[in-house]
Assembly symmetry: C3
């Protein structure tokens, strides 16, 4: 299932690079923000699980995939990289992939299903929060006008956790849930689905 | 002493939810900011102690208490939640409780008294710093016009650490110190006690 | 080699205190920002390595040196502390020292040379990122108009990692590389060396 993790790294790497380009960072800043976004969520997950030193540092594909994502993005025509939509779409892809991959790794480390789902959501939103904090944006996670972000990730993570309790696991399930989370997030963006406000706000 | 920890989780959860409401977050954002504020400081403490996976993920009361704090806050009449004072008061309560609970857990893990006190302060201020960074406020910890914040927490933590060296421990001492830290912080807010500036500033 | 680490703590402590003074923090805020800047990068490194509790909490020289840096800075005449250049110079010194000290500690913990170099860079830039995020500055690490920052740190860290593979180690090499990283960073600042933009930006 490491494949899901690496595709998530690529997707978040692109989203970090797009944010860096929009903020006029130079190529070094683009590479750094791509790497932080791509590896940040997994790093927090691994520290929480006590899996040290984390694979992000000890297995080269993680860093290399993040840097490839940065390079490809930096070489893409300017018009595309200035758009907000690609950033949101790649971010949604990373969200779906990491909510599944994070939950599965937490289950492998013996966490209970709900705890594993919470850690999966942390993995999924962690890199994006770091990206937005460093670029001084309000994190998409809590942005007042943001369409549903953490909700599909949590639903997907809970599904993976519950299925594992029922003995259902495997790459197909993981890939399916990741696609479903991605689809719901993109639909939420297109149709402006939002969470309700507190009742008086 | 887990009780102190959970009351601290509740107090910081309310402060996080109040900040989210003031920033017009939707209910999902409110829940997330409450959880991050409530569990963030303890999470950093547990990672530093190597207590992985941290209880915030493996013991359900932590997450549940944080979510209850968010729900109660979101259901509170609007006028109250818009005020700055409740946020500061709940933050002060969390500060007092976590400075004691954090120090005691660090002592349990074998840290020396001063080191344990430093980690207690980190626990006490960590969640609030995360809250303020995500909500893009200058952290209360370092705000130029902020009344004494870390000082009472450090004094309380050092008191708990020193008492433990002298063989004095127990729930009554902990509760008393937590109340004292809370009281000093609230008095500092009311009477505008501030730290001195650097001499030439 | 702990000496390099402590000199780096001092340099970053001064840079954190200078930022706090520029932002009109009171003496408590100055002490806190100095400590966070001085110990933050090493703390992240130690959590990644699983070296818990980290020396920043268990060995008193770290905290004491950071506080001395804060005190000396706060007692320095105002004109000096308001300048931007001293902050950048002390930051550059910390960058050079921590890129070497971080890489060497990671090698001691058995990381491969490139992984150790990446962790060395994380150590070197971590404290400064925390400083800038808390003070609500765009981190120097990714600032659009920032002169080369991470590049000399990475070059120095890779040099230390490579030399160690070749069996070359020792205090003289470390000190030399730290000075070289510092020199390149200061030259980059003076001569406005910048990374290229993405080709269309």
């Amino acid at each position: 299932m490491q494949i899901l993790d690496l595709i998530g790294v690529f997707a978040f790497g692109v989203s970090g690079a797009l944010m860096a380009i929009r903020r006029d960072f130079d190529v070094v800043g683009i590479a750094i923000l791509a790497v932080v976004t791509a590896l940040g969520g997994g790093l927090v997950r691994d520290l929480v699980l006590g899996d040290t030193p984390p694979p992000a540092f000890t297995e080269w594909p993680y860093l290399v995939v993040a840097l490839i994502a940065a390079a490809l993005t930096a070489l893409t025509p300017r018009g595309f990289t200035r758009l907000t939509r690609p950033l949101l779409v790649f971010d949604a892809a990373g969200l779906g992939l990491f909510s599944v991959a994070g939950t599965e790794k937490a289950l492998d480390f013996g966490l209970a299903p709900v705890a594993a789902a919470c850690l999966g959501v942390t993995t999924a939103v962690g890199g994006g929060v770091l990206r937005d904090v460093i670029a001084r944006e309000v994190p998409a996670l809590v942005r007042p006008d943001s369409e549903l972000y953490a909700v599909p990730a949590l639903a997907g993570a809970l599904l993976v956790g519950t299925a594992s309790t029922a003995g259902v696991e495997g790459p197909l399930l993981g890939a399916g849930v990741a696609v479903a989370v991605f689809t719901v997030r993109v639909l939420a963006l297109r149709r402006h689905w939002r969470g309700p406000r507190a009742r008086h706000a």
